[in-house]
Structure formats: C-alpha cells, structure tokens
C-alpha cells in the first residue's frame, strides 16, 4: 500500500502524475545546474568562474523552461491542477519535507553563517559559492559578491524561471499573465539591477530597493541608513523622502484604489517569489478558523513590535536640542503619537460598527503602543529605552522577524506551511495594507449571485488561507484584510462565481441570509429582518 492513501483517496500513484522523457531530461539539466552550485559550495575551484556560473544558472533556467513548456503547451488551455495533492512535493510528502529542510538549512547558513558560503571575512577574498558569483557582481557594480548578492541573484533567477512557468500554466488568463510579468519586472529591475547601478553611481548610498517599503524594509530608518542617505546629497535626500512618502502617501492611495494587491501580488519581492516559485505550494495553507485567529494575533503583534522598534531606533539617534536638527526626541514622539491617535480616532468614528468585537482589540493595541512610546520617552536615556539598549531591540527584531520569520520560516517552510506563511502571519507591511484594504478600499472579490456550488476549489487554492467558499456560498463579497488579490480563486472556480473588482465603497460588504435566485419576497423578508 502506498502512503498516498493518507493524503487522498488514491490507492496507487496515478499515471498522469508521471513525467515525460523530455521533462526528465529538463529536470536532469536543472539538477546538474544546482549540482555545479553545490560543488562550488564545497570549494571546488573552477578555473573559469564566469563561464561556470553562466552554465549553472543557464541550466537551471533552461531546465525550468523546457519542463514547463512540455507540461503545459502539450495540453489545451485551462486549469492545470491535476494530481497536485498526489505529488509528494506539493502534498507534504517525502519530497516536500526534503525540499523544506534543504531550503531552511540554506536560510540558516545564509543569515547566520555566511562564511560557510565562502564569504571573505575582513577583506579576505571570497571562496566557495560566493566567489563563483564575483564575476557577475563585478560586471554589475564593480565589486566582489556578498552573500546577499548570491541570494539576490538566485532569488531573481527563481522568480524569472518560475514566473515563466506560471505564465504558461495560466496562458488563458491575462490577469495572471500581466501580474506575473509585473512581479518579474520589479524583481529584476528594482530589487536586483537598480540597487547595483545606484551603487555604481554613488557608493555611499545604502542598498535601497525602491519598492521595498517600511515596515517591510525595517532597516531604512536605522541610523547608518539614514546617515548614508543624508550624507549622499540631494539624491540621498530624495531617496529617503521617497521612502517616507511611500508609506504615508503612495501606499494609502494605491490601496484605496486597487486593494493591497497592487503591492502584495504585483510588486513585492516576497510576494513575487510566493506567486512564482511558491505556486506549487499555495494549497498547503491552513484554512482552519484557528489558523485565522492565530494569524490576526501574530501579524498585528509583529506590526506593533515593528512600530515600537522603529520609533525607538529613530528616537535614540535624535537629539534633545532643536539647534542640532529640527526633529528632536520630544517632537518625534509627539508626531508619532499624534499620527497614531489620528488614525485611531478616524477609524473609530467611521468604522466602529464594521469592526465589531475587533474594535476592543484595536483599542487595546493602540493604547499599548502609545503607553510604550511614552514610557520610553520618560524613562529613557540616550541609549536606553525600556531599560534596554535600543540596539538590542533592533537586533532582536532583525533576528526574529527579519531573518527567522521572513526567511527561514517564511520561505524555508514553503512545502509545509504553504507559500505565504510570512505574508499571512508575519509581514507588518501586509498588516498595514490589509488594515487599509479592510477599512478604506474599493477592492473586493464579488460573488456571482446564487451560482456557487460549495466545491471548495477557491478555498483550496487560496495561499493566504482564506476560506473563500464560506463567503461565496452565501453570496457575500470577500473583503478580507489578508487577501492579496492573486486572483487564483477566481481562475479555478468552475462556475464563474468570483471576480476581483474595484468598485464603489458602498455596499461592498454585503452579508446576506438568502441568496439571489429565490423569489424576491423571500429574499427581502429574510435579508432585511
């Protein structure tokens, strides 16, 4: 008996899951590419590093392309989910766990032990894997590679290669294609190439991925980063201003018009990886009510942590005296408090009813943050906040949230928790955008009257673990803060029930008792109570 019986009702491995000869060759090519990288990792000294790297990355990309073409172009256009829950890799089988462990290990080494990847310490030359990437780094920015350059390159390769696969998989769906081209473009241009070119132009500038907005980019307001920007003249000033405008102006406007999807599934790099390389794992996210409860606590705690941490960081390097710099500690705390209070009051005034029980939690959260900030202000010295060194707070955030949560768990656990564990449970940026989406946005997923048959394809394919069916079968629009607007629920629906829309705010949230299709009298009677 195969262990598959536990995963599905399948007794034997269904034949359709087997791959063609062409796909086997493509897979072999990709594995050889990865093997070359592994050889480099174990300090094999390739004579021509540039050629070897080209060969390795080329094989990986080519392998993925050939494999995908054979998988999708040999069949008619349509939904291609056959066997997803039979395949070991996409159903938490042996291969799923192996990939999960390999990825997790890679992230641990990357974040905490880069010297094992071959990073040259204290000016020494790179060795191993990192040295293999030196020629590419030299080509782009005239310096040797770092572990982050290696990571960025592999990340970009993954988004491009698997993005291509995704486009073929959804070649009947232009929303999916355009969205995928968008994440591929932003990854290649904004996250990978532009920062390198910016370094070429002005090597004092800190690495800045323009599309990475605070609080996802949690280090942008660190002292070294701000100093870096401020010491780089007008361009630096423009960049840091853009960073501030991004979160306070651009983000609310775009989220109001399009929902948080404009960022999470069109621009963001974390989202980009999840939508492309992570696509095979989207169905693994938990749809349980308990997971939703955990999500709401966890993601908002991270948000609180990041607001307090950033405020504390900025606070410590500001001065007391107006003459040094116009922004003083006191003024800064007042500004932060005033801004948070404004948001709180506006929400409570306009949206108290919609929030229901959550209003209490929101209020507690708000007063907790304000209290923390005030305690900080009145108990702190220059270096200490909450009797802790603010640097320690910052390091803790960087370690637990920035590295372990977003990297090790968020991506390493793709084959176990699904592709969006970080976006769903941890990302403070997603929490802010989600809050805006739930409160002030034209975006919703419209359900189509009485057509839903409760089949569950939508919920199954939701990477954010939203039980889409719960709404669709009641004819209720889906207005959830976590929805990243990937549009796959709409794509897989066999009855044409779901549509992502930007429309007026009025009537956006429409809980009903009785669905369309009934006699009008009954619907009015029951729905209007």
């Amino acid at each position: 008996m195969s262990n598959k019986q536990n995963h599905s009702m399948s007794l034997a491995k269904p034949d359709a899951v087997d791959i063609s000869t062409k796909q086997k060759i493509a897979l072999a090519g990709g594995i050889i590419g990865l093997f070359i990288l592994t050889l480099a990792l174990f300090n094999t000294n390739f004579s021509n590093k540039g050629l070897t790297l080209t060969l390795a990355l080329g094989l990986i990309i080519l392998g993925t392309i050939v494999y995908s073409r054979d998988a999708y172009l040999t069949k008619l256009e349509g939904i291609k989910n056959d066997g997803v829950w039979f395949k070991s890799i996409s159903s938490r089988g042996v291969w799923g766990w192996i990939i999960g462990i390999v990825l997790t290990t890679f992230y641990i080494v990357l974040y905490f032990f880069p010297k094992y990847l071959g990073l040259g310490i204290n000016g020494a030359d790179n060795t191993g894997l990192i040295s293999l990437f030196d020629p590419l780094s030299q080509l782009l920015s005239g310096r040797n590679a770092s572990q982050w350059f290696v990571y960025g390159t592999l990340y970009t390769v993954a988004i491009l290669a698997f993005g291509y696969k995704f486009i073929l998989k959804y070649r009947h769906n232009r929303y999916q294609q355009i969205r995928t081209v968008s994440v591929m473009f932003f990854q290649l241009g904004f996250a990978f190439l532009i920062p390198e070119f910016m370094y070429l132009m002005n090597n004092d500038l800190p690495y800045y991925d323009l599309k990475s907005v605070w609080p996802l980019n949690y280090y942008i307001f660190d002292e070294w980063s701000v100093n870096g920007f401020l010491s780089s003249g007008n361009i630096g000033l423009a960049l840091i201003s853009f960073g501030i405008i991004s979160i306070f102006v651009i983000t609310p406007i775009l989220t109001y018009k399009f929902g948080k999807r404009w960022y999470c599934s069109w621009v963001c790099g974390c989202g980009g990886l999840a939508e492309t390389a992570g696509d095979s794992f989207r169905q693994l996210s938990s749809k349980k009510m308990s997971a939703w409860k955990l999500e709401r606590w966890l993601i908002h705690l991270v948000l609180v942590f990041s607001v307090v941490m950033t405020s504390a960081m900025v606070y410590t390097y500001l001065g007391y005296d107006k003459n040094d710099f116009w922004l003083t500690k006191g003024l800064f705390i007042s500004l932060v408090t005033a801004f948070l209070t404004l948001v709180f009051v506006v929400v409570m005034f306009f949206k108290r009813q919609e929030l229901g029980k959550d209003a209490t939690y929101g209020a507690i959260g708000f007063f907790a943050v304000i209290a923390l900030l005030l305690i900080m202000h009145f108990t702190g010295t220059t270096d200490n906040v909450f009797y802790l060194k603010s640097n320690d707070l910052r390091s803790a955030y960087g370690l637990y949230i920035g590295s372990i949560f977003s990297g090790v768990i968020g991506t390493g656990f793709y084959p176990i928790l699904g592709s969006r564990a970080w976006c769903r449970f941890g990302c403070p940026m997603a929490a802010i955008l989600g809050f805006q989406q739930r409160m002030f946005s034209k975006f919703r997923i419209t359900t189509n009257g009485g057509q839903c048959i409760s089949c569950g394809n939508c919920s199954n394919s939701c990477e954010m673990g939203i039980d889409v069916r719960h709404y669709a079968q009641k004819g209720e629009n889906i207005v959830r803060s976590s929805c990243v607007g990937c549009g796959i629920c709409s794509a897989v629906c066999p009855r044409g029930v779901l549509k992502l829309e930007n429309d007026s705010m009025k009537g956006r949230i429409n809980p009903t008792e009785i669905l369309l299709g009934n006699d009008v009298d009954l619907m009015t009677l029951v729905n209007e109570k």
């Binding site: 009702m9 056959d82 719960h470 006699d519």
Partner: protein
C-alpha cells in the same frame, strides 16, 4: 422541545438545518448513511483528479455542528411509520420525530441493461462511487479503458476525471449531439468538438445493448446496440441521469410519484412530513421548471424556504428566474432565463447565436419572435453577472436592450479580451439579413 429530524445531509438537508437553527431553538438531528459530515457532492470529481482532498469538499469544519447544536447520526433509514412518528433504521434502532424532512437526493438511473449490476459498473454520485472508482480505476494499468453511458453533466465530468489519469474513455451518447436535449445546436456541436480535442472517444447516436462479464463477474466489455461492436473495458460508468432516492418510503403512507409529492409549501400529504431537494416532486411544475429539479441551488432554496415554514413563517416555495451553470472540461457554461434546445422549444422562441472563431466561446440569446422580449441567454467561455440578468428578466427587457448592454453583465476577470462589440456587430448583421 420540538424535534426536527432531517434524512439526508446534502445541501438541502444541511441548509434547512442551518436556517432552522438561526430562527429557533428546536432540537435538530440530521441522518446520513453516506458520510459523517456534509460535503459538496459536485466536488467529488476534484478529489479523484487530485485538485483537492476529500476533506476540502466539506464546507464546514467538524466543530461547526456541535457548536450549532445540530446532531449528526450515521444510519440508514429502512422505513418510516408516520402514525407514531417513528423512523426505523437498518441497524435496528429507532428514532422519534416531531417534524420530518426527507432530503435524500437522487440515485443514478439504470434502464434494465443486461449486466448493469456487474462489478465495475458504477454511477458517479455518492461518496461510495468515488471510492469504488478509485479502487477500480486507479490508473491506466489497472483500468485500460472506461466506457461511459449517457451524455449529460455527470457523464462529461466522469470523462474529465478519467482523462486526468490518462485512462482512455469511450463516451456513448444516445443523442445525435452532446446534451442537445438541453443545448441549442451550435453550442452542443462546439462541445462535441471540445470533447474530441481532449482525445475522448465520443460516440454520438450510440446506445448500449449489454455489458459483458468475465468469469469473475467483473466487467469485460460492452456491446453497442447499433453496430454490435464489442468494446473491451474495465469499468462502465452509468450516467444516464438520476432519479429520486426514495425506495425506503414506498411502503409508508407518504404519497410518491417519481419523487415524494409535495405542495408549494414543501409539505407532503402527511402532516409534519416535508420533502426538499432532488427527491421532492411538485404536484405541478413551477413555470418552465420541471416538477423534479435535481440542481444544487434549488435544493438550497427549498431548504431556505422550508426552514421558514417549520419555524412558523409559512411561505411557499417560489424560485425566481431560472439559472444554472456547469463546466464542460475547460469550457464554462452559464445560463440565465430559458433557452431551449430543439426539444420542447416553444414555437415563439427565436435565437441569436454568436461563436468566437477559436471555437471555445459562444453565446445564444433567446427572444420572443413577436414581442422581441428577452427570454434567456446561454454563455460558453464568457462569465456573466447573475444579478444583471436577474434584473433584466424581471424588468422584461427586449433583446436589443440586452445585446446593447452586454458589457454591463460581463463577469470575466480583469484584462480579459472583451467580445461584446463583436457580438453586437454580428447581431446587427444578422438583423439586416433577416
């Protein structure tokens, strides 16, 4: 406390239970012999295809039932004694009710074909059918060919399922074109071509004569009535429609025809006994609807209505404008209002038909030849908005208005190519010719 007992945990039974709970504090028990928890029958195909696991077909988590004080009982009701209000179970126990709802759904039709009860002959309706299929057709080594008899919605779904595991399928359809008892010609023929594009061996105007068995009582082959051809196969899917699953009622005093006879309040001839969903048969058909409607949403709507009745708000079952949807392999189908195929088409009904050159999208708009009143629309490969068509049907719009306002009804995902202009041009051209 009044005890409402519901036989059947499908969409009808579950809906009536949920709504009674919202409206009252009555004791509610749901009985099923098929599955422990409510699942979506229409989703069984996706379990076999590996898109989902069985648990994903369950719309409510298991704690939902206890939280809402809805008791679930697994058992098979053998007979109903309406005088003493007692249910007798095949397992030997009994259960008292104050109000009884019969929501036992359908069972696959069998038309007395020789060999129809052999091992390997199956319908595709119950959870047990899925398990049976999984056992007998796990892959194309064990099941070298499957024959499907009956060209309706379940037949094409079964073909899609087997196709997903590369099991060769021969699809026997009695009609001269797929589902043309319901679909107009142009649509039906487009689906014929789509089926063949999926390498399914579609045999039109073909009837089953008999199913032959091997020495162990398993299916060996089928014989075609018209040609006498023998097709070797390992399973036979019987998908020639469904009929009410009410054999256990036959001995009781509850009036039955093909289904359990009910009035517009969904009451049977016996006080405190009701029937809803696929197994209920209206004394008189409502509008153009059939007396028995085996459709997901009508089951749900009857459940919504009956919950009001049982909770003391007596209203009749009044379904609104007809609508439905399905998916034929990769082509989605939606219908709003009435569009008839050749069979049963009223004399006054005229059609406007448009088909895209890629042969996967088309629409048919039905209208009244004298008044131009819009009667209904079938759409293939283009999603339409239920609400918009529901309004237009209520407002009794004419066909010109509908064709000119089609963009308002479009429900396709963003950035999809739009065909409304093309449709309008074609409509104007056809008018000039006519």
């Amino acid at each position: 406390m009044e005890h409402v007992v519901i036989i059947g945990n499908g969409i009808s039974g579950i809906t009536v239970a949920r709504h009674i709970r919202k409206l009252s504090d009555k004791k509610i028990t749901i009985i099923s012999a098929e599955a422990d928890y409510f699942f979506s029958r229409t989703a069984l195909m996706y379990v076999y295809m590996g898109h989902m696991k069985f648990e994903h077909t369950q719309p409510y988590e298991n704690w939902f039932w206890r939280k809402n004080r809805i008791e679930l009982k697994k058992g098979f009701v053998k007979s109903i004694e309406t005088k003493s209000k007692t249910l007798h179970f095949a397992e030997g126990d009994t259960l008292q009710y104050d109000k009884l709802v019969i929501a036992t759904g359908s069972k696959p039709n069998k038309f007395g074909w020789p060999g129809q009860d052999l091992d390997g002959v199956m319908g595709m309706y119950h959870k047990q059918d899925l398990e049976n299929l999984e056992r007998r057709a796990p892959n194309n080594k064990v099941c070298k060919r499957a024959v499907i008899v009956g060209g309706g919605l379940i037949g094409i779904e079964l073909a899609e399922m087997l196709n997903s595991r590369n099991i060769p399928v021969t699809f026997l359809v009695r009609e001269s074109s797929f589902w043309n008892g319901v679909l107009p010609e142009g649509e039906s023929e487009m689906i014929n071509r789509h089926i063949k594009n999926h390498h399914i061996d579609l045999r039109l105007s073909t009837n089953l004569k008999e199913i032959k068995s091997d020495e162990n009582g398993n299916v060996k082959s089928v014989i075609i009535a018209e040609t006498g051809e023998e097709i070797r196969c390992n399973i036979v899917g019987l998908t020639a429609g469904v009929s009410p699953n009410i054999d256990f009622i036959k001995g009781s005093e509850i009036e039955t025809g093909r289904g359990v006879k009910v009035n517009r309040f969904l009451e049977t001839n016996i006080k405190d006994v009701y029937a809803i969903g696929d197994c209920a048969e209206q004394h008189e058909a409502i509008g153009n609807r059939r007396p028995i409607e085996a459709v997901w949403y009508t089951g749900r709507m009857m459940g919504e209505t009956l919950a009001q009745n049982i909770s003391g708000n007596r209203i009749d079952y009044k379904p609104g404008h007809w609508f439905n949807s399905a998916k034929f392999l990769d082509i989605e189908y939606q219908t709003y209002g009435w569009v008839f195929g050749k069979k049963g088409r009223p004399e006054y009904e005229r059609h406007f038909h448009w088909k895209h050159q890629d042969d996967t999208k088309c629409i048919t708009v039905a209208y009244h030849k004298d008044t131009n009143k819009f009667l209904g629309i079938n759409t293939f490969g283009i999603r339409m908005r239920h609400k918009t068509f529901d309004h237009w049907l209520t407002e009794k719009r004419d066909v010109d208005y509908v064709i000119n306002h089609l963009p308002e009804a479009n429900f396709d995902p963003e950035f999809y190519s739009k065909f409304e202009k093309d449709i309008l041009d074609s409509y104007n051209q056809q008018l000039q010719i006519a």
